[in-house]
C-alpha cells in the first residue's frame, strides 16, 4: 500500500513539475541575451586574439622581424575589418551579414597580396599606390612572402 502511495506521489510530482509551464503559461526565454557575444563580436575577438598571439610569438623570439611584420599587417587588416563590421552591426542594431565581413576581409587580403597594405603601419592603401598615405613609407611589393 505504502508502495502505491509512494509511486503515486512521485508520478504526481513529476507531472505537476513538467506540466506547469504549459498549463500556467510560464515561458522560458528563447532570445539571445544582450551581454552575450554576437557573431561580429566573436569575430573581432578572434582577430584580436590572433594579433596578440603574433605579438607574443615575436616577443618570445619565435618569429623574426620580416615574418612578424608580414603576419601582423595581414592580421591587423583582418582585425580592422572585423572591428568595422562590428561597429556597423551595432549601428544597424542588427548583426551584419556574414558575407559582408568576409568580402571585406577578402578585399583587404587581396590588396595585401598586391602589396598595398603598409608593412609599417598596416594601413590599407588603394591599389596602385607606391607610397603609404598614412605614414609615407615606400610601398615596395615586399609584403607577404
Amino acid at each position: 500500500m505504502t508502495l502505491y502511495v509512494g509511486v503515486a506521489l512521485v508520478a504526481a510530482a513529476v507531472l505537476i513539475f513538467i506540466m506547469q509551464p504549459v498549463v500556467k503559461g510560464l515561458h522560458a526565454s528563447l532570445e539571445r541575451e544582450d551581454d552575450e557575444l554576437t557573431e561580429t563580436e566573436a569575430r573581432k575577438r578572434v582577430a584580436l586574439l590572433a594579433l596578440r598571439d603574433v605579438e607574443y610569438d615575436f616577443l618570445a623570439g619565435k618569429l623574426d622581424e620580416p615574418d612578424y611584420r608580414s603576419l601582423k599587417s595581414e592580421l591587423t587588416a583582418e582585425a580592422l575589418a572585423a572591428l568595422e563590421a562590428d561597429e556597423a552591426a551595432r549601428a544597424n542594431g542588427s548583426p551584419a551579414e556574414d558575407a559582408d565581413v568576409e568580402r571585406e576581409i577578402a578585399r583587404i587580403r587581396e590588396g595585401m597580396r598586391s602589396g598595398v597594405v603598409c608593412i609599417d603601419c598596416g594601413f590599407a592603401n588603394e591599389a596602385g599606390s607606391r607610397f603609404c598615405s598614412a605614414c609615407g613609407d615606400a610601398l615596395a611589393g615586399s609584403v607577404g612572402r
Binding site: V7, L51, E55, G61, P66, D67, L71
Partner: protein
Amino acid sequence: MTLLGEFALWISLPVALWGMALGYAGGRTQRGDLVLSAERSVYAVFGLHVLASAGVMAAFLGDRFEYWYVASYSNRELELFYKITGLWAGQRGSLLFWALILGFFSSIAVFTNRKKNREFMPYVAAVLQTVLAFFVIVLLFADVNPFERLDFTPANGQGLNPQLQNYWMTIHPPTLYLGFTAFTIPFAFAISALLSGRLDARWIQLTRRWILTSWLFLSVGIVFGMRWAYEELGWGGYWFWDPVENASLLPWLTATAFLHSIQIQENRGMLKVWNMSLVLLTFLLTIFATFLTRSGLIESVHSFAQELKIAFIFLGFMASVLGACVVLILYRLPQLRSENQIESFVSRESAFLFNNLILVGAAFSVMFGTMFPLISEGVTGNEISVGPVFFQRVNFPIGLALLALAGIGPVIAWRRATKRNLQKNFATPVIVGLVVAVALWSAGARHALPLVTWGIGAFVLTILATEFWKGTRARARIEGEGYVPALFHLVSRNRRRWGGYIVHVGMVMIFMAFAGAAYNVDERFLIEPGDVVEVSSPMGHTYQLRHDGLSVSLANGQRNLLWQAIVTVSVSRDGEPQGILTTEKRKYTTQDPGGPPMTEVGIKSYPLEDLYLILSELEDLEGAVSANSDAQGLYLQVLIKPLVGWIWFGCLILAVGTIIALWPSADRRRGASEASADATPEPASAVVTD
C-alpha cells in the same frame, strides 16, 4: 525501495519522450512554455533515474537475490564496497548507470544555460531527451532490465567475478562513462546549431569545456583501465588490443582530433563540415563503445544470438542518428562553407590537418581490427581475429607521426611558415633529439623503434620546454617580474594554450613509456625457501630476491575465498635492502572448482622501472593447500618493466594540463561584456606596437 525504483524507471520513459517532443516542437514554433516544460523534463528524468539507481543499490545491499541482476553479480559474502559498486558491475546496471550520468550532465547543461544561449536550448533539450529515451527503451525492452525477477529466490547469489574485485575496476568504468556521456552535450549543441541554422563557431565555443571534460574523463578512464589490467590480470601487460579496450580508444581518438580541428574553425573559419562530422562520429563511437562493451558481440559470436534484440536496438539507433545527421549536414551545406583556404602546406593549419588525418586514420584501423572477426565471419564463415601484432604494426608509425606533430604544431606559424621560422624554432630541438638518440644508442639501447620514439620525444619536450622558457623570459622582462610569478601569470593569461602544452608533455611521457616495453625482462625460477635469485635490469640494476616462505590460509568462504597462498620475497637492489614483496594465488568459492586459481602480483615501482613478481605456479598445490609444511617450492616469475611508471605519471600531467585548460579564465568570470577589451591585454602587445 527497489519496487519504487522500478516504477521510477518506467515513469521516466514517457517523461523523456515528452521532453523530446516538446523540445523539437518548442524550437520549431518558438514557444517558451513548451521549451520550459522540455527543460524541466530533463531534471525530472534525472530525478527518476536517481530513484531507479537507488532501487538497484537497495537490492544489492539487501541481498535481494530474487532479482536476476543481484543474483548474478553479488552474494551474501561480498564486501559492502563491492555491493555498492554492483550498480555498474554488469551490463544491466551499467546501462542504468549510464542513463543516470547522462541525466546528471544533461541537467547541468540545462541548468547552467537557463539564462544564456537560449536560442540553442530547445533543440539541446530535445536531443538530450532523445538519447535518454533511447537508453530507457533499451533498459525496458531489450531484455536487460536490472529489475527483472527470477521465478524463485536463490539462497545465495553467484558472487562477483574476483578479477572485478579491485579498486581500479570500481573507478575505471564510471570514469569512462563520465567521458562517454559528457560528449553527448557537445553533440546536442551541434545538432541544435544544425537545426536552428546558427552555424558560426559559437556552438563550439559554448561546448569547449564540455568537450575537454569528456576528453579528460576518457583519457583518465582509459589509463585507469590500463592500471587495472597491469595489477590484476597478472602477466605484466597493460594493453591487449582487445575489443573492449579498443572500444574505449575509438571515441578518444576522434575526440582528440575534434579538440584540435575546432581550433582551425575558431581561428580561420575552416573545416566546418569536418567538425560537424567529427562530433557526430565521436558521439556514435561512444554509443558504439557502450554497445560493444556491454553486448558481448565481438568476444563471442555465440552470445550474439542471445543478445540479438539489444544489438538491433543499438544498431537501429546508431543508423537513425547517422542518417538524420547526414541529412541535416547536407541540408545546411551552403552555410557550412569554408571562410578561408589553407595558404601553405607548411603551417599550423596543415599541422592540425595532419593530426586529424592521423587520428581518424588510427581510429579506422583500430575499428577495422576490432570488427575483423565479424567481417571475416560474414565473408568466409570463419571467425578470425587479428592479434596485437596487427594493431602494433599499424599504430606504431601512426603514433610516431602523432608524437612528432605534438611538438611541431605548437611552434609552427599559422597561415604559412617561412624557412626562417622553421630554422629558428626547430634547429635546436632536432639536434637535441638526435643527440638523445645517439647517446641512448651508445649507452646500449639498440632497438630501433624505441630509439626513434625517445629521440622524437626529446625533440618534442625540448620544443615545449623552450616555449615555456621563452614565454616566461619575455614576460619577466616586460613586467619586471621574477621568473616564477612570470610563469604563473603566463599560464593563467592563456590557460588554453599552456594547458594544452602541458597535456602534450604528459602524452610524450606516455609514449616514451610505451617504447620502454621493448626492454622488458621476463625470467622464471623454481625456488625453495631460502633460495636467492638474481635478475639484472636494462637500467643496470641487479635485484636479489629471496624466498622467505610460503603461507597458505584456508578461508573457508570468508570474503568468498576458499584458500590463499602468499609467498613473501625479500628484495634487495644492488645490495641495498628494499623490504619485502608478496605475491599470491587465490581460489574463490565463486570460481569454477576445476579452473586455475587467481594470481595477485607484487609490484615495486622505481622512477625508471618496475619490479613485478608473479607467483606463477605452486610446485605442489595439493600439498600446500593441505598445509604440508614441506610443500613450499614454487615458480616465481620475475618481470622488470622499464618506464611503466611514466604512464601513470604522464596521465597525471595530462590531467593537470586539461584542468588548467578547462579552468574558467579571468575574463570569462568578469563577464562577456569585457571579453573583447580583454583580448589585447598581453602586456607585450602594448610594448611592441609602440
